[in-house]
Symmetry: C2
DNA sequence: TTGTATGCGTTATCAT
DNA sequence: ATGATAACGCATACAA
């Protein structure tokens, strides 16, 4: 492998001059520039980027932590991150954690070792105090409302949104409302649970833990959710579903079994993925790609900032 | 940031000894090892991995090129790659190309610059000759049958499989068979097309280009495919569908519109994703995760090898 | 405008 | 068992 010193010798200039040419710096005469360009072409020279990294102290690599790639929610966030990464000439190192702590620690480790310049955590499993300890090694951006922390964040006020959705269903006459969620832990899930509990308190409605259906991520989980509520003696008349995919699965199962939507079961889902439009599902649109873009920009920004993202109810046929 | 030299000084030993301790080499006395360990703990020292990379000439990073993260096909392959990567202590740099050449070139560029040790290309858009030129910079593994090339490959014989599926439908009495495919270009897609053409020649069946439906990747594409064949004067009685997701979408649309499966329309899909079981879809199981694992192992192997993966028809209710 | 010299943090080689 | 020192390949402060 030819290096910058070889080039210098072959072109009859100094390594500095070669470096200047390589990085398009001014103050290099046309003839020397040409001479260097020639040997670059002749040798098929390519920079060793690791040397650049070591010398500069940074890698232009951003780590992205997320549980799954194959759910629309995260793949849309990732899309946004990718868009801005490309613009700013960064590459991404992706960590699919499946909510396993060790995978998340690995990402933090890479930050510590300076293999990545910053870390975007789209959804975390480990304790916030663990993450905070790594802030000294580089920027860490999160997707949840952590007011007053030293993290940059981009988040949806899930308490407020869930509350509004519940009130909307209440006004439509629903008194037995359940919800499907990806996981029970996590700030965002707990905010939704809190909104759910507070809603029931406010309206003096009984709280039935059977109305909360966990681990709902994929289309086929919709069928499981449906089977679950079908078995209940006193099933809910409405569901909030935190993914359009799952909602679609529920709708399909209802159709199969002759349950009429929205008459027998009303559904509001989240994200407004293409499938929601195809299946005419009422959904709360979250601008996930925009969120992703913002997350990236915060990751490469020295200043910490917190940005709330607003959502948008799209009324279709399931309420 | 404290470095290895600082540690050496603080522990009263040489940098070599520190390096030996850090990398668990033998030949270092217990007392010196302990002294070094102490200062490591005290200083919260962390290796700068970029220096390791420069010194060693490799990064323990493998690039993975794929068009989409959010289709089960690729996310399952990726899962397999991830499993082995973890075992061998490698990290992944993912390139979601969406079949844009520039994104693919970027991956090849990183190989050239030694930022990644090897490259796994799950599906390519650029010409094979372009890719071949980069073989000098590191191993490149592909997912297609390229007999006699210098690439390592893991592949399914899509010609054979498609042919068998077509013959299976023929035996069941079908004479008008169409298929849904992700894209028309690409070795694997062309192999399937070739099998399709040869099948029609062999049985002296008319070839109708309207029977081939392109760009079928997601659930909602199934509805589009359905709408397409519904409009045909002489619609197919059977479909091969290269993704269970799409097949599920077709099944749903058929149910909606009262088309009976398999009586009015038979379907064989591919992959055997969870949704295929849920919807009782006859499918050809491809061990995608196993494929991914093998792809990774080939990437870190110096020898080139070519491995054909065999598939498995799972008979359910759509034929 | 150009070049010299040094630093980046580690691993590897070769003495001792 | 231990250490001095030379790579690794580039960027850059400083000098000229």
């Amino acid at each position: 492998m030819t290096n910058i010193r070889d080039l210098a010798q072959m072109a009859g200039v100094s390594v500095t001059t070669v470096s200047r040419v390589l990085n398009n710096y001014p103050y290099v005469s046309e003839e020397k520039r040409k001479a260097v360009m020639d040997v670059i072409r002749k040798t098929n020279y390519q920079k060793n980027i690791n040397a650049v990294h070591l010398s500069k102290g940074r890698t232009n690599l951003i780590g992205v932590v997320l549980p799954y790639f194959d759910t629309p929610y995260f793949s849309l966030v990732l899309k946004g991150i990718t868009i801005q990464a490309k613009i700013y000439n960064y590459n991404l190192v992706l960590f699919q954690t499946e909510y396993r702590v060790d995978r998340e620690i690995e990402a933090l480790q890479m930050l510590k070792q300076k293999q990545i310049d910053a870390l975007v955590i789209c959804s975390r499993i480990s304790d916030i105090s663990i993450i905070k300890k790594h802030l000294q090694f580089g920027p860490i951006v999160l997707c949840e409302d952590l007011a007053g922390s030293q993290f940059s964040t981009t988040f949806v006020d899930h308490y407020k949104v869930f509350q509004q959705a519940l009130e909307y269903l209440y006004e439509k006459g629903h008194r037995k409302i359940g919800y499907c969620i990806g996981r029970k832990s996590g700030t965002n899930s707990r905010m939704r649970e809190l909104a759910y509990i507070d809603f029931h308190k406010k309206h003096h409605l009984p709280f039935d833990p059977e109305y909360i259906i966990n681990r709902c991520l994929y289309f086929e989980d919709g069928d499981r959710a449906f089977q679950h509520i079908k078995k209940l003696k006193n099933p809910p008349t409405a569901l909030l579903v935190t993914s359009d995919q799952v909602a679609a699965g529920i709708v399909i199962s209802c159709q199969k079994e002759g349950i009429s939507i929205p008459d027998n079961l009303a559904i509001i889902s989240f994200n407004n993925e293409p499938i929601a439009k195809m299946m005419n599902i009422t959904t709360i649109e979250i601008p996930l790609t925009k969120m992703g873009e913002n997350l990236f920009l915060q990751a490469i920004d020295d200043k910490i900032s917190n940005k709330e993202i607003s959502v948008n109810l799209i009324e279709r046929g399931t309420v």
